[in-house]
Each structure stands twice: as C-alpha cells, then as structure tokens.
Subunit: 475 residues, 2 copies
C-alpha cells in the first residue's frame, strides 16, 4: 500500500508549533546520565510518547543501570526496523552557554534562523522528538506507517551504553526479527550539505588515578601545605611524568606498545567512498564549527580525512588535582585524576585496550597508577554502502534533491556495534535532513526554522517520513 | 617599671569565654583574599579591635589591593616593636571539613580537648585574637604594655603580600623607628613541644597556561567533541609533555637550567642549630599530622631536615582541564592550566625564577605555554639566634618551662623579608605557646582548652604577655 506522502507533508507543515513543543518538552526534562539527573523521569516521558503514538507494548525495561525504553508499533507490515534512540544527554557544566541549557529556548541564530538551543538539541532529543512527530503525522492523516517499528531508547549512551547489552540479551528473540536498524539523525552541515556516515569508531573510557595512599609516597588523605613538597612526594608531578610517556611531544602519536598493531588500512570500498568524499569535503566549515585554526600538522583534504577516520586516538578528556580556584593557594595535592578516552578503528577491539595501557604504565615504572574503568566501551561498527538499508537512505536524499556526502564512518563513537556486529549482524543506518551542532559543547542547537541554508524541523520530519517509505520498499 | 604579670595572668584566666568569643568573631568574618570575600569587612573588624585596645591612630591604609590595617599603640615606652599580623585566609573549597569552616565551632578533639575548628583558626586569626586579648588583659588590670606597638595587619598574605611593599614604602618613616618585628604564632607541636623558627623560604607563584588560541593548534574557544582528537591537537596532552620536563621521573629533582645555581650550603650557625634540632625533631608527629607514610626517598632524621630546609622546590598546587565531573564526557579540552609554586632558599632570589622557567619552556620547544604571574613573590628571610629579639623569645620559653626546638627557618613562606631584609633590616621573630594545625587543609584548628598535651588559649595569651615583657627588657 502506498503512503500518500503529500497529505502527511501538509500535516507536518501545519503542525510546526505543536511539533516544536514536543522537542522543547524533551530538552526541558533533564536526563544527564553522568550525574543521574532526571534520567528515569525522561524515560517515563519517552514511554508516554510511544504510547501516544500507538505502541501497545511500551515499557521501561530495567537493567543494572538506567532503563531502556522499549516500544513496539505494530503496523501489520511485512518488514520491521529497530529505531534506535538515546534519551540521555551530556552534563551541562561547561561555561559559555548564552541561554540556560535546560530551558528549551528558541533563539534566532545567523544564518540559520530560529534554532532550539539546549543540551540534547542535536544529541539527540531533537531528532527523537522529530521522528516521533513524523510517525504521528502519518497516522494523524489516516495513513499507516509502512514498517513495524521496534523502538529502543537507551539512557546510558553518554556513559558508554554500559547496560545496553543486558537489554539486547533479554530481548534477543524480538530484536532478531528486525530487518535493519535506523537511527534518526540530522545530517546537514552548516551550508546545507547532507552527510551520511556508515559507521562509528569504538571507544574505551577510563580514569587514571594516583594518590599518596596508593603510591605509598605523598599525602594520603588530604592536600597539605605546599611547603612540604621539600620532603613529601607529589602525586601530581608524578602523574605528569606518566602521562607524558603516552604520546610523542606533540601529543599525537601514541607510544603504547602494540597500540597500532590491529589497525588495518582502509578497505577497497572505503577508498572508493573517500575518493568521492574528498571532492565535496569542506574542511573550513568543520574548523569553523569547532573554532580550530588548523588540523594536526596542518594537514588538508584527503590527508586530513585519513587522519580523522583511520587514526586510533588517546585523548585527555579532563584532568584535575589540588586547588583549581582563583588566585593562589599553596597546597601539595594528595591526588590527581585524568579522564582518558581511546578511540578504536578497525580491527582494534575494546578488550585489548586496558591491558595495553596497564602494561605501558608498568613498563615505565608507574605500577602505582590505578586504571578505573568507567564504561564497558564499545567496538567500532560499519555498514556497507551496498546494503539495501543504506541504499534506501541514499535514494531518499536523491528524491529530496540532495546529493549526500558519504563518509565510510564517523570518528565519533556509538553503541551501533551491539546491533551491527555479532550476534545480531543487522545493517545499521542513520539519516535525516536537518542541521544542528555543538554536541558536548556550549550552545548545542538544532535548526527549527525553514528558509536558511539548512532544513528546519519541517524538513527534518518530512525526511524521516520519506526514509520510512523507502526502507519499506527496499528492505 | 615592672609589669605585675600575676595580675595579668589572673585576668586572662577569668576572661576565657570573652576571649574565645573574640577568636570566633574573627573566624566567622570571612576574609578569603583569593576570592575577595569579606576582606574589607574583616579589615574594619580588626581596626575596631585596635581602637578598642586604645590605638589612637588606627586606620585602613589603602594599597592597589587589599588595605593594610595599621594601628599605633603609644605606651610611652622606650622601645617600639612592629606587630605583624595577617587578617586574610585561604579559601574554604577543599572537601573533608567536618564542621562548616566559617562557623567558629568549638569541637572536642582528642587528645587536645576543646578546639576552635575553622578556616583561619591557626593561620592566623586565632593568634591575632589571642594577642589582642593578651594586650587588653594588661591594660584591663591597670598595667601598661611595656612596648609601643606598631600593628601592621595585611590582607593579602595568602596572595603573596602583593601590595605590602606599597604600604611599607608609604610608612617607611614610622616603621624604621621600630626595634624589632614580632609575629604572634602558636608554636607547639601535637605533643606540646615548643618550636621556634628563625626564618622562612621565599616563594614565587604562577600559572602555566596553554590554549588552542595561544598555540595555534587545538580548539581555541571551547571544549569540542572528543572524537576530534584524531585531527585536532590537544593542549592538555601537550602540557603534560611540558610539565614532565620540569623534574626527574619521581617529581623531586628540578631540571630547570640553573635552578640550583644560587643555593648555598647551610651556614655555620644553621649547622649548630641543626645539630641540636636533630635530637628533638620528631618526624612521626609531622608525618601523622599530614597523613604521610614516608618522606621522599624514605629519608629520616637529619637527612630529612636538610631536605626540608635547604631544598628549593617546584610544586604543582593545582591543575585542571576539560571535564572534571562524575562519569564520562568525551571532550577535547581547549585549555589547560597548572598552578605552580617555587620555594626559594638562600641565596636564591624572586627575580631569577620566572626568567629561568621561561628559558626552560623555550629550550624544550614550549614557547606557546604562557606564564601568568599571580603574585610578586617574596624572598627568603632569616634572623640570627644571636639577635636579642630571638634571645627574648628563648628566655620566655625557658621561664614558662619549655626548652624550644629551634629551627633555622621554616619551609613555608611569609613576607618577613619585607621587614627583615633591605631596607628595614629589622630582626623578625615569632613565638607563642599554643597549638594548632592544618593550615590550608580541612579542619584547621587551634587548641583552646587547657589540660591536654598542649597549651590552650589561656597559655597562649600568657605567653604573649611574657614575650612582650622580655622583649621590653632585652631589646
């Protein structure tokens, strides 16, 4: 049965205010998993939205951590997709926000027009709300969603999806009935170009910790007067010695033994994709979004792409010790902590990372430095452009008048491997015509107004309708 | 005219509650110079106390920073001493306080008995209040203070006494009329042993700062998504490289060229003092106060003393970058800052430090790392035990039944050089029989109750009276 997309699109156009409200409601409900702030309340909110859509079976599935919101929309269709969402967000502690990050304010931002500026706006409550709006628009005009939808909204994506595997194990029988996984995103850049990523890097996140108690040297319980450095060891100075052994002087080559052992060169398919990507890749936009003057070693073009996509990394996400307030306070800190993430490219694995870091510390004599694992980590994931799910996304973009810029994968990480690799082995695709930026940074936003260089909320919702339509025909 | 000390002592004994109230009033008035919190209010409070004592000339002397409280008590005496005070304190941000740090609570602490537990209790509002109590006790019983007192209470000691030189310049004519400088302290250790220090190390305090803007590499304005480490440089990793060049791997030997050039061996007088000191020095008490298991290289006895007193140091007081909250947040931080202090021993000078640090950074290729000077710094200071001011303190301890443990100087720093070295060249002594600890740390305290292993508030006040008496006879 063919869907009357025109009727659905008209409904979307006339529902802007109501639809925007749904996004605002979602971002106003805090769900900061790192701080366990509002997480369950947000899960309940998502469940209500799934029930409103008509999921008979909508529920919170408990795990050892935050619940997964599961919902099944039975369209009586031949094909079924898993719709993967996350309902948690990053913290809002970073300075530089020009609006309160949980207020759901709509702000005029040049050159885009009106934008929703809030934590989660683009990562990823904006898309979550927009996708639900799109589904609701189909049923509101008396049409039927062309696929059965198995919603999986997790609440620990920002914690590394620690307990998603528990859910997947528990729901394996249902999940394996799906034909593909779709993650609603908003993939236009600042200028309106549509980007499409076919996978993600993996990640391992941990803390390196040293205190006087663990070391046997230095203050063990509290920071002491700084003058004692003359006869008492400094965990902070010691840690800088350890951290400095991890990389070359520029911080860019990792010196951990065997770190690069399992890195394989780009595949033939990747190289084909890169050849096209190189032609449309606009590095200046990317640098401008991040306010970065130049890439590492001032590389450009294909060289920059190769670095971005095929380098595993070791990064300090945060470090702290002692007195970090204004002015002077002379203390000898008893403890120092560094948060570190390692990104994995094919064929590296999560399980090889911590043992290598441990061996490295031991080799250099830093046996006293503790590794605290903060998340399970997840492996990289990739879907071939030849998969019909991927082709359905490409077709949608063509129909809507866009030539997508296809990326073999992103440098970011997401738990796609849990669906995309063993045992489910499902094609995993993402897509959507819209724009937002500054995930994990101040003034995160999603464009909601039409008429600027990118699509707004209406365009985004229409693109989801079209994607569902094409997936139903091509899977 | 001889003072009737017995009458004064009886008055002190009967005034305990009132006198304790003065200390509580002082610690309850915040005066956190690093945060500019309550500083001027505290200066006014100290001024009122000086007026109450009978200083006709008591005033706030403005500087480019916090005011100095100056007061002159004219006893019509032959000799005049400067009484040096500080009325500012460290911040109260450190965790681990078991009482609110500005409440002025009196807590029973084993084995001492009742203690005032508060920020500033020992560093140094407790002694300030006790000294004023002692002076007031002399006049209250109809006796006369045996010396003219020139009170100088500064409000930026914890900021490195940045603007004290302005005051000294302005008041030079008055200050040079003084015969000595006395700093009221409480110098018993946990077990009641009286310690006496004849000087201090110097200090230079600065921040090392690196951001993408100053470097030309890395994010310049805000932390960006951590996945960008693959193609964007990390100021945090770069800084750990720079910090690691400052010391040997254990963090204990400074590798800055020329750092030790001006260090001279202990003088003959120092070595004589050390020979005695070694016999009574109780390292276990010191380690227990700091909760330190062992000193650097596990040294003991004289070796530990030599390290403590004659080593210049480079210390990380604090370091921070990126996300420092709970859980995981993957960011590539745009900026990292480290607070560093360098302690100076004879004959090092303040002015040699920053140029050497700069040359070191440049030599290792870290030209992009900025040095932000947070204070002027001050030089070391030492007073000979042969000075009559020092002998007056020793005599007082003997009279009160204590054999002082004499330290050639402390490893801590204080602006004594401004009085003790050019141009004033005044003998600078400190003293007082009482106990407190945890300056710059949580649960800072001063013992107020008698009967434990140390003196309480009454003993402390009596010792100040006796010191004034002996100074008046011996100067």
């Amino acid at each position: 049965m063919l869907m009357d997309k025109k009727k659905v699109f008209e409904y979307i156009e006339s529902s802007f205010d109501k639809h925007l409200n749904r996004l605002q409601e979602l971002v106003r409900q805090p769900s900061i998993s790192a701080e366990n702030r509002g997480v369950r309340e947000c899960a309940e909110l998502v469940k209500r939205h799934l029930q409103d859509l008509g999921c008979d079976d909508a529920r919170l599935v408990e795990t050892s951590g935050n619940p997964v919101v599961y919902g099944f929309y039975d369209a009586g269709a031949a094909k079924t997709i898993i719709v993967y969402f996350m309902y948690d967000t990053q913290p809002v502690d970073e300075p530089g926000w020009t609006v309160p990050p949980l207020d759901g304010r709509v702000v005029d931002m040049k050159p885009f027009g009106k934008c929703l500026v809030a934590r989660g706006a683009i990562n990823t409550k904006g898309e979550l709300g927009a996708f639900l709006n799109a589904c609701e628009s189909i049923t509101a005009v008396g049409e039927e969603i062309p696929l059965n939808l198995m919603f999986v909204a997790e609440g620990e994506e920002e914690l590394g999806s620690r307990h998603l595997p528990e859910f997947i194990k528990k729901y394996m029988d249902k999940l394996k009935e799906a034909d593909a996984v779709f993650f609603p995103t908003a993939d236009q850049d600042q200028k309106g170009k549509v980007q499409m990523a076919l996978g993600v890097k993996g990640i391992v996140y941990f803390e390196l910790e040293l205190d006087g108690k663990g070391w046997g040297y230095g203050p063990t319980e509290f920071d002491v007067h700084g003058s004692n450095k003359a006869w008492v060891d400094s965990p902070a100075l010691r840690m800088t010695q350890a951290l400095s052994t991890f990389t070359t002087k520029d911080g860019n080559k990792v010196l951990v033994d065997g770190f690069y052992d399992n890195v394989i060169p780009p595949s033939k398919e990747d190289l084909e994709l890169l050849e096209k990507l190189e032609k449309t890749f606009d590095e200046e936009i990317i640098k401008d979004e991040m306010k970065v003057e130049r890439f590492i070693d001032d590389v450009h073009g294909k060289e920059a792409l190769l670095k971005y996509l095929y380098s595993p990394t070791l990064n300090i996400d945060g470090i702290w010790s002692g007195y970090i307030g204004p002015g002077t306070k002379t203390v000898l800190p008893y403890k120092i902590t560094a948060k570190v993430d390692v990104r994995l490219v094919p064929n590296m694995t999560v399980k090889e990372v911590i043992p290598k870091i441990r061996r490295h510390l031991d080799k250099y004599g830093f046996k006293e430095i503790k590794i605290v694992e903060l998340e399970e980590g997840y492996d990289w994931a990739k879907t071939s452009i030849r998969e019909s799910a991927a082709q359905a996304i490409v077709k949608t973009y063509h129909e809507l008048g866009y030539e997508p810029e296809i990326w073999p994968h992103m440098a970011g990480s997401a738990p796609f491997c849990m669906f995309n690799r063993k045992p489910l082995n499902l094609p995993f695709v993402e897509g959507g015509v819209g724009h937002g930026a500054r995930a994990h940074a101040p003034n995160e936003y999603i464009v909601v107004e039409e008429g600027g260089p990118t699509g707004g909320l209406i365009t985004l919702e229409k693109s989801y309708v079209a994607i569902l339509d094409n997936l139903s025909k091509m899977l």
